[in-house]
């Protein structure tokens, strides 16, 4: 894929303000997270980053499926609405077109995930967390959010490209958001069957309640490396399958 092809893709989005979508969700996330930052005790400040790193995956379960559905639909709908398929595919390879669209969508996902970490650091500054920045945990969160986001984005991408009616990908995003959130309350074995539930699969802590002290306890969890690698392989295979389906589809 050449840089020129990417530039063409961004030119198509010039007046669509797609970048506003992740920014609007980041703003909502900032306010939402901020609502829980009132009256922080010394104990809360001492585990500020860790607590947020525990909360963010749950919020991602709610926000990301719909946000990614909106981004993918917005970008793919240009071609669906404009009925540009036949013209496009006489000029370029279908596979390359698929990859390029996906890459542009992925960059918005990356913007959101990095922005999330920015919010985390901003909270630390604003509220004066006394906990040192857990750089490794932050990077782990970034990798997990990107991986789970990529899997969901792949699904949304192919649905948005294949559906003449954009209600199908949006409905999937809405249902996925629901399923992902509820899967958080299910036993891990059941939750792992839900694609959208993987946002919460790699949280660094488990939240517990210390009744005696009346405080929230963050119990560290061992990073499930096997699950991460397994899900990474699944995402790659799933991406190849979706790409194959799109390339084979007659227009």
């Amino acid at each position: 894929m050449t840089m020129k092809e990417l530039i063409v893709e961004y030119r198509k989005q010039r007046h669509l303000f797609v970048w506003l979508i992740p920014l609007a969700f980041l703003a909502a996330l900032f306010l939402w997270g901020g609502a829980g930052q009132r009256n922080l005790s010394d104990y809360d400040l001492a585990q500020g980053y860790s607590y947020l790193l525990c909360q963010l995956p749950v919020l991602n379960c709610i926000i990301m499926p719909i946000m990614l559905a909106v981004i993918a639909s917005r970008i793919c709908d240009i071609e669906v609405k404009g009925q540009t398929w036949k013209l496009l595919f006489t000029l370029q390879d279908k596979g390359r077109f698929y990859d390029r669209k996906f890459l542009t969508e992925f960059l918005y996902l990356l913007l959101f995930c990095v922005g999330e970490l920015g919010i985390l650091l901003l909270y630390g500054r604003i509220y004066g967390y006394t906990e040192p920045i857990p750089a490794i945990l932050c990077l782990r969160h970034l990798a997990a959010a990107l991986l789970a986001g990529s899997a969901v984005l792949t699904l949304q991408h192919v649905l948005s490209l294949l559906s003449v009616n954009q209600i199908v990908p949006l409905l999937t995003g809405l249902a996925g958001s629901f399923l992902g959130l509820f899967s958080e309350f299910f036993p891990a074995a059941v939750a792992r069957l839900v694609l959208w539930g993987y946002f919460g699969a790699f949280t660094p802590y488990r939240i517990d309640w210390d009744e005696a002290a009346g405080e929230v306890l963050l119990v560290p969890k061992i990073f499930p490396t096997g699950l991460f690698i397994g899900f990474f392989i699944f995402t790659v295979l799933f991406s190849l399958l979706c790409r194959y389906i799109f390339v084979r589809k007659e227009l």
């Binding site: 639909s73 709908d77 199908v168 409905l171 809405l174 509820f182 309350f185």
Partner: protein, 245 residues
């Protein structure tokens, strides 16, 4: 004339995918909420009210508004495609009837969704072994949530009319729901200032006692106020702005 526009809108929905959304989306909170209730029934001792809290917790909080937005986007998408705006605006039909025709269909769809959710609530309650019938107050909350959807329906219809993208108004509805949730947590008065918070309060999600007790008049005034504001703006824009077909 309004009746004719309603008939036309209904005909557009014949065999539409929208009905799948209307049926499937409420099944998810019903099944999962019941499962969650079943797993935690030692702690959730309020029987029907506990089940209601589990069913409506996330539905009213975050998904009800995007669902209404989905309905609205679908209805306007038909006009945004294939130069249909030109046809629509040259029809010998008052513009307010076009807007209210669509709004009527949205309210009807929302009512069906809500009643379907209530039916699922009853079924799930019986399957979970709850005694008797659900308290009448839960039906009131269901209908009150539908009333709140009047304001959201009008707002989302306005957004979907102005924004040609199918997806953006749905994303905005989720962002709005988050703001609604924050407003509801801020103070009781803030609920009435944010249309998205009205749904949450109307359905009394995640609360055993009626949070709107003694607040029915402000709730009704706020819903009616937002409804009139968004409908008025929508009709005014239809009248004044040139179409982009």
């Amino acid at each position: 004339m309004l009746l004719l526009t309603v008939k036309a809108e209904n005909r557009k929905l014949k065999g539409s995918v929208l009905w799948i959304a209307c049926i499937i989306i409420p099944i998810i909170p019903a099944v999962m909420g019941t499962f969650n209730y079943w797993m935690n029934r030692e702690m959730l001792t309020g029987e029907w009210l506990s089940l209601w809290s589990q069913l409506t917790l996330f539905y009213a909080l975050l998904f009800y508004a995007p669902l209404v937005a989905l309905y609205c986007s679908y209805l306007w998408r038909l006009e945004h495609l294939e130069h249909n705006w030109n046809v629509l605006m040259t029809l010998p039909v008052p513009l307010r009837d076009i807007f209210f025709g669509k709004l009527y269909v949205i309210v009807k769809m929302t009512l069906i969704t809500q009643l379907w959710l209530f039916l699922l609530f009853c079924l799930c309650g019986k399957l979970a072994g709850l005694p008797g019938l659900p308290p009448v107050i839960t039906l009131t909350w269901t209908l009150r949530g539908t009333a709140a959807a009047l304001a959201i329906g009008a707002l989302q219809l306005l957004l979907s009319m102005c924004i040609r993208s199918f997806a953006i108004p749905i994303g905005l509805a989720l962002v709005g729901s988050i703001f609604g949730f924050l407003s509801a947590n801020l103070s009781k008065a803030a609920i009435f200032l944010c249309p998205y918070a009205l749904m949450l309060a109307g359905m009394n999600s995640n609360a055993y006692e009626d949070r709107m007790e003694g607040q029915v008049i402000p709730f009704a005034v706020s819903t009616a106020g937002f409804f009139l504001l968004f409908c008025g703006t929508g009709i005014l824009i239809l009248k004044k702005r040139d179409v982009k077909a």
